[in-house]
């Protein structure tokens, strides 16, 4: 008979190595979704124990206590207590600790014990602790805490063997009779008492090295230096953007020619007609022009995950706290805003680390101004078509510099808007506190990073396969029907629905230098910004035949003036063109009002910026 599925829950303080343990246990057998009703990320995975028991494990949001002062921490509390409908009460709670840094975790263990759930303490990163001279009396610690304690090295093969063996042992025992949950939110006196108790247990069972981690101290001496630290931060960001532009290029060209070849194959195989046009121009060139950007998205997530795992993200927040504070932002907003460079959706979701509502709202409102990866396709296309590929001062690439400028414009406007929000709405309120653990530096592990990048790339491809695909079919339909009348002189698209919509919008967008083809492309761009590129391709491909589809960029260079191109770049810095971002804002703020405010202010900014850019560019002779 098969044993029933065992449910494990991973709990721990932030930076405890919970996620690397989760990755070690489950590998790529992970599912990332949301808890119903809230946008807290739910990470679940599965594995089989040495004795063949099926185990399902959830990685709960990191927390220092069960007080639940943010939506993330409430999820952790409610799942541990079995209060979440539809979630299994964990058969075993694993409290994960960084063995070099047990003080705060031991206090959390003492609090978790009050819930009366089966509990085991996992001393993770035990190798690093040993190397640093931390010695732990594991048996003594287990006796003092009254729970099983195991050591683990999540990043080493076989490093979780002990953990797996003990899990099997616990599973084999007779089920523990349900015990009374004695946990109540702790009073200040109880908190203090548990920390004192934790310190007493640590003093009796753990001996710490006299000197702290010298590597962390040495790196911090430079990285947290007021001047050198900021220079390093700027350098990291600069390298990141040059990399996104330069390193991805060969791979992107490879992908691009693969899709063109595929389209050509379809073109040659099928008879000319609607089906051929649908597959080649609608499906293959549409989806292909989005998937081409996978290398850039992988690179940006690679950087973010590396910096996160190394422990640099918290340092960046430390360096930026007061500088961002001048613009009315919390230091913790740095991480959500940096994530927004990849995509505003995870960025907005990451604002849950900010527990003050006003700070959080400000961050949510400006997150879409950070240049997300979906804008890269649009920027890349226009930059390669209009900006010459030349070196400046022998070192910098002009295209890279324009890209850097666009990112800077996004950041500057975000800071400006945040300052205005603070000035207009919350003039008289004391800033919320900034309290953050600066973890010891750790060498990022290839496997963990790979799993992280893989998960995100998969999410991007799924989006390309669903939302973007259906939008491509829609735009192809709008651009193809009604069919041109027999004997028509103009390109077929001039008779389509797309032309009707585009021309209706043209008077509104004409002052910005946008023709009706751009207006048509902006409509499906509402689903996802990058779709606009594919849409431009479709619009011009259908208009100009397959030669144009192969070189959208060259096509644009002949059809648009430089002023129009610059105006479209300016539009894209601000344009509120992402239905999913707006949907997430509504969900996260719980109100249509904030969504409407975001849309309105971004639209106004986009219009003003484009108008100014176009007018100035024309005055300078770029019209």
């Amino acid at each position: 008979m098969e044993a029933p599925l065992m449910h494990l829950a991973l709990v721990g303080t932030p930076n405890s190595g919970k996620t690397s343990l989760f990755n070690a246990l489950t590998g790529s057998r992970q599912k990332v979704a949301n808890y119903p009703g809230v946008t807290v990320e739910r990470k679940e995975g599965s594995f089989v124990t040495p004795l063949g028991r099926q185990v399902s494990v959830v990685d709960l949001p990191g927390t220092y206590s069960l007080r639940g002062r943010s939506p993330d921490e409430e999820i952790t509390r409610d799942i541990v207590l079995g209060r979440t409908p539809g979630e299994a009460l964990p058969d075993l709670v694993l409290c994960v600790a960084d063995s070099t840094n047990l003080r705060l975790t031991i206090r959390l263990v003492l609090e978790l014990k009050r819930t009366a759930r089966p509990l085991m303490l996992v001393l993770n990163m035990f190798d690093i602790a040993t190397r640093r001279g931390v010695t732990v009396d594991v048996a003594g610690l287990s006796a003092a805490l009254g729970i099983p304690v195991v050591t683990s090295i999540a990043v080493r093969k076989g490093g979780t063997a002990d953990l797996l063996r003990r899990t099997d042992e616990i599973a084999a025992q007779a089920p523990v009779p349900a015990q009374q949950n004695l946990w109540q939110p702790l009073t200040v006196a109880e908190l203090r008492a548990t920390q004192r108790e934790a310190d007493r247990i640590i003093a009796a069972n753990i001996s710490l090295p006299v000197r702290p981690d010298t590597w962390t101290a040495r790196i911090d001496a430079v990285v947290l230096h007021p001047v050198a630290g900021l220079a390093i931060l700027a350098l990291i960001l600069f390298v990141m953007f040059q990399a996104v532009f330069a390193w991805a290029q060969p791979l992107m060209e490879l992908l691009s020619s693969a899709f063109t070849a595929l389209g050509q194959m379809v073109h040659d195989t099928l008879p000319a007609g609607l089906l051929q046009s649908f597959l080649q121009n609608g499906v293959i060139s549409g989806v292909g022009s989005v998937i081409v950007f996978l290398p850039q998205i992988v690179i940006i997530f690679l950087f973010i995950l590396l910096l996160e795992d190394f422990g640099y993200m918290a340092r960046a927040a430390f360096l930026m706290d007061r500088i961002m504070g001048g613009a009315g932002l919390h230091g913790r907003a740095f991480i959500p805003l940096l994530s927004s460079f990849a995509c505003a959706i995870p960025g907005i979701m990451a604002t849950r680390v900010i527990d003050n509502r006003r700070d959080r709202l400000t961050t949510i409102l400006i997150a879409p101004l950070m240049t997300c990866s979906a804008r890269i396709p649009v920027y890349t296309l226009i930059i390669s078509a209009f900006i010459p590929d030349q070196q400046i001062w022998g070192w910098f690439n002009l295209r890279g510099l324009v890209m850097f400028g666009l990112y800077t414009a996004g950041i500057a406007s975000a800071l400006g808007v945040s300052f205005l929000i603070k000035f207009l709405m919350w003039r008289d309120y004391a800033p919320a506190p900034f309290m953050l653990e600066l973890p010891d530096y750790k060498l990022p592990r290839a496997r963990s990073i790979a799993i992280g990048v893989y998960t995100r790339a998969k999410m991007f491809l799924q989006r390309a396969g669903t939302t973007i695909f259906s939008m491509m079919v829609l735009i192809w339909f709008l651009a193809s029907f009604p069919l041109a009348p027999a004997g028509a002189q103009d390109p077929a698209i001039n008779y389509s629905f797309a032309a009707v919509i585009g021309k209706a919008l043209e008077p509104l967008l004409a002052p910005l230098g946008f023709n009706w083809q751009i207006a048509v492309a902006l409509i499906p761009g509402m689903a996802a910004r990058e779709v606009a590129v594919a849409a431009l391709g479709t619009v011009y491909a259908i208009e100009g035949g397959k030669e144009a589809a192969e070189q959208i960029g060259q096509m644009l260079a002949t059809k648009w003036s430089l002023a129009t191109a610059l105006s479209l770049l300016a539009w894209y810095i601000f344009a509120p063109q992402c239905a999913s971002t707006l949907a997430v804002i509504r969900r996260e703020t719980g109100s249509w009002k904030w969504m409407a405010i975001t849309f309105a202010y971004m639209f106004a900014l986009a219009y003003a910026a484009s108008l100014a850019t176009y007018t100035i560019a024309r005055a300078l002779g770029a019209g």
């Binding site: 003080r103 206090r107 430390f318 706290d321 500088i323 653990e437 600066l438 973890p439």
Partner: protein
């Protein structure tokens, strides 16, 4: 604060928020009333304790930010915590 006096009782007590980089001392008590923080006294005290700021813990200021020497990176026993000076005013050290 009544028991037998230890040696470091001789040092004057001061808020950690006023200490300079390189300061090293021991937490004497938390004074969360009227700290100027946006948090309520109970919330501030709870968070400070959860991050390990309890009486008797050894602290050292390792780093300071560039603007107004704020925030500060504080070594609390063997953990490093970043806090703003405003909140650190509630931590009385000697």
């Amino acid at each position: 604060m009544h028991g037998t006096k230890k040696n470091n009782d001789v040092r004057p007590q001061m808020p950690l928020g006023l200490a300079k980089r390189g300061f090293s001392g021991v937490i004497r008590h938390l004074a969360v009333e009227d700290s100027g923080s946006a948090l309520s006294a109970v919330e501030l005290e709870s968070r400070l304790i959860e991050l390990g700021f309890v009486e008797g813990a050894r602290v050292k200021i390792l780093h300071e930010g560039i603007v107004g020497r704020d925030p500060i990176a504080v070594r609390v026993e063997n953990v490093t915590i970043a806090v703003r000076r405003r909140e650190a005013m509630a931590i009385i050290v000697a």
